[in-house]
Structure formats: C-alpha cells, structure tokens
Symmetry: C2
C-alpha cells in the first residue's frame, strides 16, 4: 500500500459520527423535535458564522477567549462561529420585528463551537438544543417551558428526574436578608452554586473563609437548605422574608408558576423549589430551572430560566423571554448509560439484505430490491461478488435483521426464501408476499 | 425606544431561516432522508471544522481562495470550514478503516461554506446533500445512485426530469477520435460544457476561435450532438469509435449500467446518454450523471459520477466510489416555483390554538391544551391577555387551522367549541371528543 499523501485526522476536540452513532443521535433529535412541535415550538435556523460584533460583550471575557474567529482570504468582515443559540435568537427577534408574530415560540437544534480544553464528554463542536418563548411576561410561559422539559424527558424514557426551580429575585432577596452586598453577594452565589458538589458544610466553610460574617452565614444556610414539601417551601420563605418586597414578588411568581403547572396536569412530585440551584449569575431576571436525572444521580440535563433583558441589546426595547437549553449531548450519552434506546435502533437503518447468487440471478435480485423499496421496506442489494455465506456474514456484521435469498429454484417457483438472522428462522413465500412477511419477521 | 447597542445584522451571503421557511426545508430534508434510508444509505456526520491541510490541494487554486479559515486566540492548529462533503468522506473512509464495513453507503446532509460573491440564489453558507457508495467497482453501484435520484425527485413531486448520463472515458475517447490532445482537449471540454448555454454553433465557433482545426471541430460536433434513442446511441458510438479501446470500455460500462437500471424497473425514458454533459474535468473516472428539470426547463438539480481515486489521497490505496450530490438548495427553491409543497405544509407546525376567555377560565384552557398534546394534537395555548377576537386574528395570521373556544358556558356543559378558520365552520363537542374532531377538521 502506497503512503497516503495526507494523514487522515481531525482537529482537536472535533468528532465524526459514523452511522451507528448517527442513528442513535437522530432518534433522540426526532423525539425532541416531535415533542417541541406538539407544544407549538417552531424551528429556527441561524447561520454558523455571525459577525464578530454580534457575539462580543455578551458572554464575559473568559468565555469570549473561547470563540473561534473565521476569515477568508481578502474578506473584510470580522466573523465568528456561533458560541450559543441565545444571542442569535436575540439578534433574530430584533432583526425581523415585522416578520415575527409575538409570542414567538422557537427552538433551534444546532452545533456551537467553544475552544475549551477537550476532555471526556467535552468537545469543541457540540449540539445545543434550545426552546424559548419571546413576548410572554406571565408565568404561563415559564410553566410551558417546564411542561415541555418534562414531556421530552418522559418521551425519551428517563424514569426518574427532578426539575429544580428557583428565582433570580429570590437570590437577590436572600442577599438582602442576610445583609450581604455587592462583592459579598457574588461570592455568596458562587459558593451556593457548589452546594451539590461540596455540601452544606463545604459552602459554609467557603463563606466563612471569604470573610462573610459567621452569623450571616448561618442565616443564609438555614434559609437555602430548608426543605419543605411543595408549596410549604414557599410558605416558609414568605414568612422568613416577610419584610422584603423583592422576596414577596419572587414568591408570588413561583406560586403563579405552580398554579399554571397544576392546571397543565403536571404532578407536584416532578419539580421542587431549591434555593441552592443558582445557575451562575448570567442574564437571568426571574425564575430559573435545572433538571437533574435522579436514581441514579447522573447530574443536570437541562438549564434555563427567564431573561427579560437580552433581546434589548439588539432592539433598544426589552422583550420578556423565558426558555430552556437541553443538554442534548449529555442526554445522548445518558440514553446509552441507562439503556433507553429501543431494540430496533441498531447499527443500521437497513431492514433487509437481498443477496445475489450469481451473475445469472442478479437481475432478479435487483428487481426484488426495487419491489421491496416500493413497498416501504428499507433494503440493500448486495453489490460485491461474494459467496452467499459471506453475504450473510455481511448482514450479520452490520446488524441487518432479515436476509432474502433468491436462487435459481426460488426464481423458477416465483418464491423467495427469507431468513431472520437473530434466531435463524427461515420461511419461503411467494414474491408478492415478501414485504408483508418481512414486516412480520421484524416484529 | 432607546437606540440598540448593536445593530442586528448578518454577515454577507449568510441567511436566517424563520419558521415558515424552516418548515418547508424540513419537509424536503425529511423526504430525502426517508428515501435514502429506503435505499440503505446511512447518515454520516463530520465536523464543520477540518484541518486546513485536509482540504488543501483537492479543489484547485481558484476554489481554495474561497475557503473560510478559522482560529481561536492561542490556537495552534490551522483550521478551515468544510468546503464540500466529498473530501470529508474520503478522510473518514481512510481514518476508520477498521470500523467501516465495505461497501459503505453513506449520505450527509450538511452546510458547507464558500466565500463566493453573493448573488440571487447563491449564498456563502448552503446545504449540500451527498449520497455515495464506497467499495463497489461494478456498475450496479452507479445504477443504485441513479435509481436513488429518480426516487427522490419522484417522491418530492417533480413531474418532469431527465437524468443525463455520460462517461469520463468517453470524453477521453472523443479527444483521441478527433485528434485533439493536451491543452486542446481541456479547451474542448470547456467549450462542450457550454453546449446548454451557447448551443452547437456557439461551441463550434469557440473551438474554431481557439485554433482547433475546422475538420476536427466538425468530427467532434457530429459526434457529441448525435441523438439516437436509448441504447441506439451506444450502438452509434460503438460503430464510430470502433478502433478506440477506451471508447469500447466506456460503452461497455454504459451498457452494463443500462442493464442494471432495467433490472431495477427504471423506465428507459427517465435517462439519456448525452455526450455534451461534461461536469468539468474534476476527479471523475467513469460514468457521470446530471439531472435536469424539464418542461419547464429549470436547469440542473443533481450532479455526480464515479471517482475511484479520491479516497486514495488519504488512504494510499484507491477505493472505487460513485455518488451524487443533490442540489438541495435549488430543489427547495424549485419546490416553491412549481408549487410542490402539500397544502398542510403551511406557515406553522401548530394545528390548534386554545384560546383563553379570561383569568377565571385560564386553568381550564391550560388543561385542555395539555389533553390535546397528550392525544398528539400539535397545539398552542394563547399566553397573552387579549380579547378573543384578537386571539382568533393571531391564529389566522400564523396560519393555525383550528381554534378551540372554552368559555364559561362550555366549561359548565363539559364541552368545547371548535372553529375551522378556513371556512368558519363551528362545532361544539364534548371535551373527550375534541382531539378526534380536530383531526376531522384538519382533513
């Protein structure tokens, strides 16, 4: 074998998806799209390349170092590969004000690029899947997002998960309640955000180390770690922070959200109010959400919340917006870990391989495969010159469930022999009955 | 309205697809995928960013000026956005030799980037849709590709189209036959390639101007413009070029191709042998194909052919490969021009809007929309505080076909009023009958 001119390899952090993987990915993507459509979310697609100025100043300095720039020889525009799907949404909503009817419920399922240090489960090109509602101030929008998340995860087959709900305003209130301000408040959030990893004592220790007054730490920790079932959690917070208007507003919003969820037949055990769920500071302005796969605890698979100010960066005027991002790459990984793919999602799309005995029967086999396809059976004609045994091995290796055998005897008799590879079952049927028999064998 | 900080705009040659457009694009993409699966082609996905060295030296200097380069601050690799889907396929086949079973039938439906001067119908980011078979030397592979093209276009609803077939080897033979060599041969191809645009006399004139001997021009033009029905075209060529081995090989291949197509029940009027179809010189080594939408003549929608040497650039060893690229952006445009979208592919995915009479009935409406979604009806809850008339206007504007009205009377009676907006038909049904009645109204 001659030396190839170019070594075939990928850039750092990039992946190819061979058919076996793509079939699983497409299965997940299709269910997600189907549920999004059921909820009336409509597809949007923005280009991979945005103007550099569109992305800059939205994500913070550290994040912006991870943005890939793009250029062509002689090009005058400064371009960049999109970093997320939220900023492009804000741009679109501002740019097409006359074409977009509000409320605008859109989803986008597309890759984004971040030059992070590659590591297990983290790549430089990965898919994001966002659903957002632009133009709805009421909590019915946030309830719609939570219902959507619950439907998607249920339809994908996740048996145990919990949607955690908090409110950005409640975090502000807690700061006021505890007497923490400015820099302290930011530290406080950063520490609370680690609750899942370092536990209550870890957070406590960090806050004290950072110089937060011990009494303040106690007040905060008592508040954020309190666990009361369902709405009692809100009663508790309402009592404790009775004199803080922002707390009362936050709690009113969460009560309203719970009422909408109840009306939408969402069982109260699907979500919980959790003050330790922070989701960074970011651009959130109201309720925030995160979904955890529980039993086994496999971490977060969705994040989101209300961000009423982002669109205003492009539009002058703000528009209330709430939404969620599904961690679709993590979901795809967990589907494998939890064995959630149905049995028919295998290594191939092909349902039947039509074998070829020899040159003199090839035309009959070619005709049969055309008939199968016309009848809707996903089928492949074996196109190399190999003995039948090798052809069956090929089907077996690829995971094709049924093989059609069409020798001189079968052709003379107007029949076809079908073999199911999983159990070796064979059946000889008339040519007209082949598609229906394959359907039976696939059951 | 305050001045926005950043003007919302797109880079040159880039597009956003709003839902109304995306719904049509997805309709086309889904049919294409479905037919590809029927033929046993499996999805492959390669990353947008490739190493610069992977792309360079494959497309020619002029094309390579159009490649977008990419970089992140501090990045050490030279990256580029993919320019087509063929070079990534060749890389993948070489890179995963142990994971890929041959023959490898894959498709990829993905965007590519080219910094061409933007003009009507030409963009810098556009989708390509390629189906290729790697590892099949026999013409059954080429026949499979032609059958696939015919099935896709038929399923999309194109009423009149013609697959033009030529053979790269026949073009070499014509050069030999006419006594044209080297530079002359290249000129000859370039001129013949313009046959559709400038006609026989135009090509004749160009060749003479380029200094090709008048007698040679006559011999060439008599040959490439000869039109005999079906296989008689091959008989004619076989006679004329009887003493040229490469011509005889090319004709033998095309006869074999025709025999495979006949066995696959492809009608002979779906394709024709056309020696004026050249498809550039490029990397083709055998049969080449192009499909033209005829009556009205709307130009080419697919191109392809056999290219047995490309994989060898990465692999040392060549692998026989044949395939096609669907001009999917052009197909999407033509679907509109020829009105091929079915009536239900409208401006929205939503089938029913559930209206809200007021705060006291909102919970009932929220419950109804949850029930509709559980029954598989794609539905939207109206989430703004507006009079019913405005809510119906919203449905009308968005193209939502059915509106559900749920006032105090209906709630008391356990019924729902459904209104079909196209003709104003109204019906009042029990709540349990709502999903089935909507299905009826949508028919």
């Amino acid at each position: 074998m001659a030396k190839p001119k170019i070594e075939p390899r990928l850039p750092k952090g990039m992946r190819d998806f061979l058919p076996q993987q793509m079939i699983k990915r497409e299965y997940v993507f299709n269910i997600v799209r189907e549920v999004f459509h059921l909820y009336g979310f409509e597809p949007l697609q923005t280009p991979v390349l945005e103007l550099h100025e569109t992305l800059m100043g939205k994500y913070g300095e550290d994040a912006e170092k991870l943005i890939f720039n793009a250029q062509h020889p002689g090009g005058k525009e400064e371009l960049a590969l999109r970093y997320d799907l939220t900023v492009p949404l804000a741009r679109v909503v501002a740019q097409y004000q006359n074409d977009i009817t509000l409320p605008f419920k859109r989803y986008q399922l597309s890759p984004v690029w971040r030059a992070e240090r590659p590591q297990r489960g983290r790549y430089r090109e990965f898919y994001q899947c966002d659903a957002d509602i632009v133009g709805v101030q009421s909590m019915s929008g946030d309830a719609e997002i939570l219902s959507l998340i619950i439907s998607v995860l249920t339809r994908l087959g996740f048996p145990q998960f919990m949607v955690k709900v908090n409110n950005r305003k409640l975090l502000t209130a807690i700061g006021q309640y505890a007497g923490a301000d400015g820099e302290q408040l930011a530290d406080l959030y950063r520490s609370i955000d680690k609750f899942d990893k370092i536990g209550a004592n870890g957070v406590r220790g960090e806050l004290v180390t950072r110089g937060v007054d011990a009494e303040v730490v106690t007040r905060i920790m008592d508040l954020v770690t309190a666990r009361h079932p369902g709405l009692e959690q809100l009663d508790f917070l309402e009592d404790v922070m009775a004199n803080l208007p922002i707390a009362q507003e936050a709690i009113r919003e969460l009560r309203e959200l719970a009422a909408h969820l109840d009306a939408a037949h969402i069982a109260p055990d699907k979500y919980e109010f959790d003050l330790t769920m922070v989701r960074g500071l970011g651009y959130y302005t109201g309720p925030i959400f995160e979904t955890i796969i529980t039993e086994p605890n496999l971490g977060s698979v969705t994040g989101g919340g209300r961000y009423d100010d982002l669109v205003g960066l492009f539009r002058g005027e703000s528009l209330p917006t709430t939404g969620t991002s599904l961690g679709i790459e993590r979901i795809i990984d967990l589907m494998d870990i939890l064995n959630l793919y149905p049995a028919h999602i295998g290594g191939t799309v092909v349902q039947a391989l039509v074998t070829v005995f020899g040159a003199d029967t090839r035309a009959e086999s070619t005709g049969l495969v055309a008939e199968l396809r016309a009848a809707g059976v996903r089928s492949e004609l074996f196109m190399l010159d190999r003995p039948i045994g090798k052809q069956i091995n090929y089907a077996d290796k690829k995971g094709i469930p049924v093989v059609a055998l069409l020798g001189a005897d079968e052709i003379a008799a107007g029949t076809v022999k079908l073999k199911r590879l999983a159990d070796g079952q064979e059946v000889i049927v008339s040519r007209a009955a082949v598609p229906a028999t394959i359907a039976d064998l696939l059951r």
